[in-house]
């Protein structure tokens, strides 16, 4: 099966946002063995989207469109699908009732333009949107499938996972089993990692091994196709074993979830608790931990001590130490970690202090210099880092570094 991806939105063509939706859909299709030969991007222009859809239908079995489903007159995707198939748009009464209920339940004022979202090309069906008001559209005709989902990433992702992929998988010619497994690494760079497994990465066909680099995360995704679950899992496990021989010491988890998820799991299992003192990361470490559902089982709280007075009065960092070593120092990082641990009464205390930039650097303490620390019931340790990114990425790297310190501490006492 061959699918094509169309992204609709003038903001894409103006470069105001990056098309991460196309990446996401590409990944999901690849993971299920659906080939993609073309992706195309259009502005909010009915004629061009209609023509583009006709071209896509001439060369693919399925077309997935993101964007252009909103309530404004800019949004042309519904109209383009109807035009490409030569059909009328009709009101879906159950969708209309759903939208009316949605607004009534929330006490929002509904406008007539909201009802546009209940329109569907004749003979098509609506795809439920579990995360928003705009339903998607599915039209099956002439042996082709056309899906339209909203451009809002969270809504698009849920609808692709829950509706588009299952429908495409059901339409695949035979029961092909495709599985993938994500190996998460830390403490090694992308190039060094790639060099160690070069022979595994090159010339692979099934399973494939693809490196993916996030902000501070190095990831290998193993994907295999086959006729049975057993066969596929075995071939993935074989490749994972070969990777572990070379990179075992750097692997911190196997799975889709990010580092903070694994830390919350580990702490909760151990019935241990965490508190965090943040300076340069400014709340980001706490934000990441609290993004994990269930984090309240192990996470007690944080102090963001941006100002030195807050470091002294709330965390109890000695004013003499702040004056002697400066706020950006290993000693202050350790004092922050022990201070927040004591304040919150947690098993572990984490801390990060540094210079995120772009201002605030000096020859002795340049932008990107960060100290992280972890305190536990009978000890504390710190580490020095140098990051070379912009402010937001330096914050991200520092948050990853301090979370990895906790990971290593937990591993040493597992």
């Amino acid at each position: 099966m061959v699918a094509e991806i169309m992204s609709v939105g003038t903001e894409l063509l103006l470069g105001q946002i990056t098309d991460t939706n196309a990446t996401y859909i590409s990944q999901r299709l690849a993971a299920h063995g659906v080939d993609v030969y073309y992706r195309t991007t259009f502005g909010d222009n009915l004629e061009r989207v209609t023509e583009g859809l006709r071209l896509a239908l001439s060369r693919a079995d399925a077309v997935i469109i993101t964007g252009g489903l909103g309530p404004t007159t800019d949004d042309v995707t519904r109209e383009a699908i109807a035009a490409a198939f030569g059909r009328e748009l009709v009101m879906d009464e159950s969708a209309r009732a759903h939208i009316e209920r949605f607004f009534a339940a929330r006490g929002y004022a509904m406008t007539s333009s909201n009802l546009k979202q209940a329109l569907v090309p004749q003979g098509g069906e609506l795809i439920a949107n579990p995360k928003g008001t705009a339903p998607g559209v599915l039209v099956e005709a002439d042996g082709k499938l056309v899906f339209a989902v909203p451009g809002v990433p969270r809504e698009m992702q849920a609808m692709v996972d829950e509706a588009v992929i299952p429908r495409l998988v059901a339409a695949l010619p035979k029961s092909l089993v495709i599985r993938s497994r994500v190996i998460r690494l830390a403490g090694i760079g992308e190039s060094a990692m790639a060099k160690k497994v070069e022979d595994i990465l090159v010339g692979q066909a099934n399973p494939t091994v693809a490196p993916l680099v996030g902000r501070g995360d190095v990831i290998l995704r193993i994907t295999a196709k086959g006729e049975s679950e057993h066969e596929v899992e075995r071939s993935i496990t074989d490749v994972e074993s070969r990777i572990r021989e070379r990179l075992g010491e750097y692997i911190y988890a196997v799975g889709e979830e990010p580092l903070e998820y694994w830390l919350v799991q580990a702490l909760t299992e151990r019935k241990e608790t965490l508190s965090i003192a943040e300076s340069c990361t400014g709340g980001l470490v706490s934000d990441r931990i609290t993004n994990v559902s269930g984090s309240s089982a192990c996470y007690l709280g944080s102090v963001v001590s941006y100002d030195n007075e807050v470091k002294a009065t709330v965390l109890g960092v000695s004013r003499d130490l702040l004056a002697a070593r400066g706020a950006v120092s290993a000693e202050v990082a350790e004092a922050m970690a022990t201070g927040v641990r004591r304040l919150c009464g947690s098993t572990y205390g984490l801390a990060a202090t540094g210079i995120a930039g772009p201002a605030g650097g000096s020859p002795e303490k340049p932008v990107g210099l960060v100290y992280t620390a972890v305190a536990w019931p009978d000890g504390v340790e710190s580490a020095e880092h140098r990051f070379h990114m912009d402010r937001l990425d330096n914050k991200q790297r520092a948050s990853q570094a301090v979370l990895l310190m906790l990971h290593h501490r937990l591993r040493r006492t597992a």
Copy 2:
């Protein structure tokens, strides 16, 4: 002038990397008044890239291709350009010498495939690559321009800035000025906003007005083209005035930067300071404030009081109040705001407490219920909100709500 962007690389279609190159080139073209109606993405397939280039040439004045210029047999962009114009590939002797010198100087072994990078379609020219070995390609024929640049972002960016954009600007019919202005709104939904300015959004040509919706932010971008800075700015200001007549009460800023930037600006100008107490937002509000460079001038610190003991011992929220009203209540939000303000000695204290979900809700206090509060030197007030998103979006909406409370407070005492 109309340009089209083609991205070449199988890794894009597999979703292994996100196409930030297309975003970059789109931004650069938009900034210089070059229209883009289509972007297309291809795998490393000679036939499909050649066909795609022919189609692009049929509908655009210029085509910019990224990727497929490397030394491996996978790389087909040179061959596709030659094929689309029906020309031979010939060796560029000065490029050949340059590549030989590059390898000799570094003591690297050169393979014959490296010399492939010195090939150019007959009559075309090579574009120097200041950051790598692969030169770009420029072919001008039949009144059309085709540029090919590598897919490595920093090489691509340098070559677009130094070669592609200057050549396109020189080819523009006259010196066109293009400017845009971003109007930021809060307290109104996308549909309601669109309805109020429907006649301005519809049938616009120059200036154009495009709505953009972020997480909790509603944005209108006005873009105008013209022959002079003066003319363009005046036509943008005219449209802004029309928008202000309808939506003035919802406009909180004009500019590219997000809400937190404007708050940091305002507090710094007023020489006032801020501290934050976070429960359900888990550090996100602080993270947003500290994403603003220079926020240390007004932002002192935060307490993330996830655990009720931290609310009581660090922020001084009364245990009786916590027991009587529950942590998710207007009274506790106000006590958190006044508590963090007193603890940090700031002019303003902000607080958010609620249930982010998916767990933790009850019939009386459902998921998405959030109380926000702002405390100032002689008062405190709170507000109740109901969000209907998932955990991360509820956190985002709550962070926007509490920052907007501060905005309204500052405006009332401006």
